[in-house]
Symmetry: C2
Subunit: 307 residues, 2 copies
């Protein structure tokens, strides 16, 4: 059995317009790299962090917290060292903390001979995620670990559904370099919503699931519509409406806030359209004084990858 593993832990998009708190999908070209290594010395140690300034103390680091939760339950006959090469900026809204929390437990599981299934890995990763967002949720973790599109049917008990991914579906993202705290973004949300809007939203969720199953891009387009959360959260993202109308005009199927923002994602049929959408995002934000980055990615149906 190997003593060391290097992995790619992907960025992810939660909510996917209509599916607040339950839907997510996995990206392919954006993600962290991590090395997990068995050690004779017991315990969990984070030995290297590159890219961003994050705590080395295991119980203060999301990758460490998820690793400790799994480690304490499994009580293996070894310890683990974790190196984190962080490429996903924390607070970008594309699952930065989830990539870390998921990567450590995935790597440990591989080195231990895969005693745990993906649901159990997600369960431990949620312990790390909770450090970052003060609540255990899995809408970024599930796509990182399972790949593709996922629906978190319930968080407790954890029940993750793997949805099919139409083969021509591509994502485009723009990450405006502004800071939005998840707590701030959550605080904006209403406690109650109108029944009428809720009905529209669950019709959209059902339609999106059906559209993914039938590779019906027109239906996916009609379903990628958030009448509940976006009206509140888009206030925190400058030029959101401009980006959205620009990308829909050049053929994106849909466009919405990624997670709690500030990143904005679009889905397109074909890589060519996704690249045109990237240009539209670029052109819109170039006219502003906000720094930003854009990405194009196919949907990653595999999730975390061994490098």
């Amino acid at each position: 059995m190997k003593n060391e593993i290097k992995i790619f832990s992907p960025a992810t998009v939660a909510n996917v317009a209509c599916g607040f708190d339950v839907l997510g999908f996995c990206l392919d070209t954006i993600g962290d790299e991590m090395v997990v290594r068995k050690t004779q010395e017991k315990g969990i140690r984070i030995t290297k962090i590159e890219g961003y300034n994050l705590p080395y103390e295991a119980k203060k680091n999301v990758a460490g917290v998820s690793a400790l939760a799994m480690y304490n339950d499994l009580q293996p006959d070894c310890g683990f060292e974790i190196e984190i090469y962080k490429k996903i900026k924390p607070g970008s809204g594309i699952g930065s903390s989830s990539a870390s929390a998921a990567g450590s437990v995935f790597g440990m599981n591989e080195l231990l001979g895969k005693p745990l299934d993906k649901t159990k890995l997600t369960y431990y990763a949620m312990k790390g995620e909770a450090l970052a967002s003060q609540c255990e949720h899995a809408d970024n973790l599930a796509p990182a670990i399972f790949g593709g599109f996922t629906l978190v049917k319930s968080a407790c008990p954890l029940h993750v559904l793997e949805l099919p991914t139409p083969s021509d579906l591509y994502a485009t993202l723009i990450h405006p370099q502004i800071e939005i705290k998840t707590s701030e973004s959550r605080a904006l949300l209403p406690k109650d919503i109108s029944l009428q809007k809720a009905i529209t939203q669950w019709a959209n969720v059902g339609s999106l699931v059906h559209g993914l199953h039938t590779s019906n891009y027109e239906l996916i387009k009609d379903a990628l519509n958030d009448v509940v959360i976006e009206p509140y959260r888009k206030q925190l993202i400058p030029y959101f409406d401009n980006v959205k109308s620009a990308v829909l005009e050049v053929g994106a199927l849909g466009c919405a806030i990624s997670g709690s923002g500030p990143s904005i994602f679009a889905l397109s049929k074909s890589e060519a359209t996704a690249k045109t959408v990237q240009k539209a995002m670029y052109n819109t934000y170039s006219k502003t004084d906000i720094q930003f980055e854009t990405y194009v990615s196919k949907i990653n149906t595999e999730g975390i990858k061994i490098l």
Copy 2:
């Protein structure tokens, strides 16, 4: 081309627990019979109604109103006579008015050589349905016309999705002979619901659609759960909780109010279980002084049938 057609227009179950206002499915053993006949004399005439006392005047009868809407748009070179052999009791909560509204336009369309598709038929049928419920909705009409499970993505513009039907799925129904007005049942509903409950509901809708696509009966069971509407509406249905717990105990996948009630439906895997569920419903209501009827039906994937 035929001058006369006899059809079976089925009863239907709207809402399907989690999918208030959008989901529905079609029954097989319960429904009206109707005869539609071309006449030289122009116009729409209802010439026979058996079973229940309903208005003969076309514009006061749901079957007549939908027929007139279609007739006035198509302006065919003939008229139509409609006979209605009503078996679905009006106000039972299993789409009695929808069966009438859908049957007349279906029959006329057949006799005219099928100029209209199912969506257009549903559109005209909605005009009749509006006479009964004061609003145009399609959650009973869509399953009657398309068959199987349907999701009404939106009513205006009308967009109906046909969902797959797992082959072992059977419905059991109990119709307590009490009267609940749709208007009364609607008035009970809150204008606003908690975001948390809405999230649970759209996770369930997405899960049910996924469960139907994958014939995953365990998932269908988990998804058949209404946290939004049932708590309000069940007050109008005596012994609802007793029926529900009795049928879940003997193996039903789920149990909820059919449409706005008073009928209660259950879904089961296998006809044998559906019959056991029927016994449980029967035993529960036998102890009360309320008259009732029970039915078992496979899911009707065809919808309205030519006899």
